[in-house]
Subunit: 562 residues, 2 copies
Amino acid sequence: MADAERKLNNGKSRIDFQTDPSKYRHWKLKVDGEVATLLMDVDEKGTLFEGYELKLNSYDLGVDIELADAIDRLRFEHPQVKVVLLRSGKPRVFCAGANIRMLAGATHAHKVNFCKFTNETRNGIEDASEASGFSTICVINGTAAGGGYELALAADHIMLIDDGSSSVSLPELPLLAVLPGTGGLTRVTDKRKVRRDHADVFCTTEEGIKGKRAVDWRLVDEVVPGSKLEDTVIKRAQEFAAKSKRPRAEKGIALTPLERKRTDNVVEYLTVSVEIARAARLATITVRGPETPPPASAEAMVAEGANFWPLRLARELDDAILDIRANEYDIAAIVFKSTGDGAQVVAYDAFLDANKDHWLAREVRGLWKRTLKRVDLTSRSLVALIEPGSCFAGTLAELVFATDRSYMLIGQLPGDNKPPAAIALDAANFGAYPMSNGLSRLASRFLADPADLDKAKAAIGQSLDAEAAEALGLVTFALDDIDWEDEIRVFLEERASFSPDGLTGLEANLRFGGPETMESKIFARLTAWQNWIFQRPNAVGEEGALRRYGTGQKPVFDTRRV
Amino acid sequence: MADAERKLNNGKSRIDFQTDPSKYRHWKLKVDGEVATLLMDVDEKGTLFEGYELKLNSYDLGVDIELADAIDRLRFEHPQVKVVLLRSGKPRVFCAGANIRMLAGATHAHKVNFCKFTNETRNGIEDASEASGFSTICVINGTAAGGGYELALAADHIMLIDDGSSSVSLPELPLLAVLPGTGGLTRVTDKRKVRRDHADVFCTTEEGIKGKRAVDWRLVDEVVPGSKLEDTVIKRAQEFAAKSKRPRAEKGIALTPLERKRTDNVVEYLTVSVEIARAARLATITVRGPETPPPASAEAMVAEGANFWPLRLARELDDAILDIRANEYDIAAIVFKSTGDGAQVVAYDAFLDANKDHWLAREVRGLWKRTLKRVDLTSRSLVALIEPGSCFAGTLAELVFATDRSYMLIGQLPGDNKPPAAIALDAANFGAYPMSNGLSRLASRFLADPADLDKAKAAIGQSLDAEAAEALGLVTFALDDIDWEDEIRVFLEERASFSPDGLTGLEANLRFGGPETMESKIFARLTAWQNWIFQRPNAVGEEGALRRYGTGQKPVFDTRRV
């Protein structure tokens, strides 16, 4: 049944987003000086769920978790790499895309969250090129179909072998009655800038496009005869390496395994705690400020490695968000809290600013940028509670600005001597962490009047109490201790009483005012249409194309155009 | 049942988009010099379908067809009007929005197309302000809820009576588990630029916002005590009239009723024919070029009135598109053909250019702009067949560029002596008719390389045969007579075999490459999410909120967040 929960193949009860190269079953990461090779060689039996096989280099979320991990390791562990070759380890097939039997049997919620994660991973590949300075060259040695071609689309350069049969295709619509849901349509029109009528032909041609036409229509950058392929790959790798602006660095740092302790309703990381209140359908994420001042130098930061506070916190927060997304569908709202010393958070921001040309500082900032985007795109109501003893300053204040609503306590709570809540802004709040619409969270917040943004900027360095923060428009409500508990309880109860789908749609609209980018178009226009289609009987009904694929039975369509 | 077809209340079998003020049941249009009043006073019994009543100035598609007609008449029949007051004829209520019982009982296809038309009408109100030069002032004398407030959002200025109870609200999410689907969320964030957390509070507060907070949060432009309301309305009307750039014109033209003859599968207008091939699921729209040269002067154009060829053709084409959208759900593709003399089409374009400061020429261009946008947004596959004897030149060539795919015949067909097909470009193809993304269709087409746009511009004035048009990238395929019939037959059969939903999603993505505007965001981000929610059991299931509204039973939600 389309909506039955599937069993995980490893016997566990939760999807785990943590892995490392020693555990990879589907990818091989080889680093050779400036050039790395990411070889996709999917283990058919190594599925995330029971009930299907990953033939022809098709993938499921488990395969993509390894890919995302590999890209992050290239950022942090291999800073000398300037070019990544994305290749297949199987003959005559590059990648057949998302596994169809997996999709046909997945719940709607899993399908949607699977696509979201794969989209984030592909955006991450492009971000690595733009922000981290290593390019990706995709070498297609056979069929790149559907999600296989969408993966190629994330690369900076696509090479297709010219052997009379190898092709690229987006056959989702003709074969499965769904859309290429991992950014494919948007990248075809907005990145590759394929002419819209050519795109129409391409996306409705099951067998795809090969050879010269694939170049003429801008679907790939070059076709290369098999006999010249390896030489050309080396040449291209050298060319892209020469253009790389990645700063020189001899040695990376190790992304050591996260330390997590899980009990039924609590996950304890070193700098993050997650508490699940199932009856109330709430997850509370508490982030902890640094316990020590920033390191004395960039070298000392490198020596701290994965223990460097902002890096550790970003990794733990990212894992916590992904865990809730994939494993806790019943959670209606995520409540962000913080504890610690805001001045220390600001000191770390200042340290990162002072070292902004150092490769590791840049990567840490980049990870925060991507993690905060992940928060923005999380389809749960997001709430910040800014309480005495909290440290929502600088980078951590971004969590407040990422929420749908924030509440800040005026003064102290009776019988509690923690210092009154304060917010502090620093330079990081004004451009270091753009949202997917290209604007900072504060610029998105103050679209109506740029003067409000200037006023916020002028408040850099001040410790803003609740009333000051409210006056500057940084929080939604400042409440005194008499109203605090009741107001928040009523709000959270109300939130949990609303339609979960309605909230997802509402938040997806209200969070992204202002301009759109290719990235935001993928998560809005394309994703929303795909989600719609993932609900339609023509795709997922008993007689729908996704369910009937491979059964020998043709799908039966409701012919009404909507 | 949510998917059963409802009966029309007037006993007819088709929804008719043609009306005139003498037939209005829901609106009163009063013109007094420079100021017009559009009074909404909905006749509860005057429903489009059977089975509900339009209480509290709630509306269905029938109400909106009258509104759209009124706006068009203000453009053409009342060119002296500079300000429109949008008001309610009922005490203590402005408008309760789309009728909930109508929505609860409507098919998914009707819901989606209803929202599309109401969106187009509201965009038309804004376009009237920007392009035609008459502003709309909305005077809210009571409750403006849901679609009622969304209607107000289309105005240039919103006045709310300050009586302690009158409010604006978007209660769709808390009450019905759906989104404000007529642009409300996008206009709140992108037009009114309401801060996102305020928008969150507003859209989850059933009773809405009133008084000073409504102004502080930018939801309305002013609140006015009842005792001062009429004086203030007059004052504002004068202020907006003084700012109007509408050119002076004494006298409008009459939008006389369209002449239509309908048989089962054919609709004959004077300049448009529609032929329905039900088995093939095709509608062929043939537009006819002008039979006479353009008028000798602007005065002669005014004398021609609704018979002026470009005006007549735009009105007929618009009606044909709307008729297919609302009444022919089973049609998979619309095929555009043309007959006539391309040189005459270009001559009309030149005439409109020469008179571009004349109010009527400007309105005719504006109607074409909106009609072509309506084509872009029509969720059927769009195809142009460019055959001997056709006249796809200038403005009519925009239909080719609006299609998903175009085929052009090389030379003549055996036994047919009509002149070989040719395309001609003129200035109208380079900016007169922007798409909802803000670009011309050719600029959207040539996103990859602006040089291609320059090449097309350099071809202005040439008669481009099939091979020349293909070389310039203006058509998808140029075919000779040996391939012509088979290729097109196979393509159209294939198109009809695909999932209708999949095609809707595919085309909604491929048609709008490049930048986004508030308008395109409404039709993409917001509409797509709303369509998704309109499929979800939490809204439309037996226990969903939309179905249970008003029954006294609470909705039951699947609590999983997706």
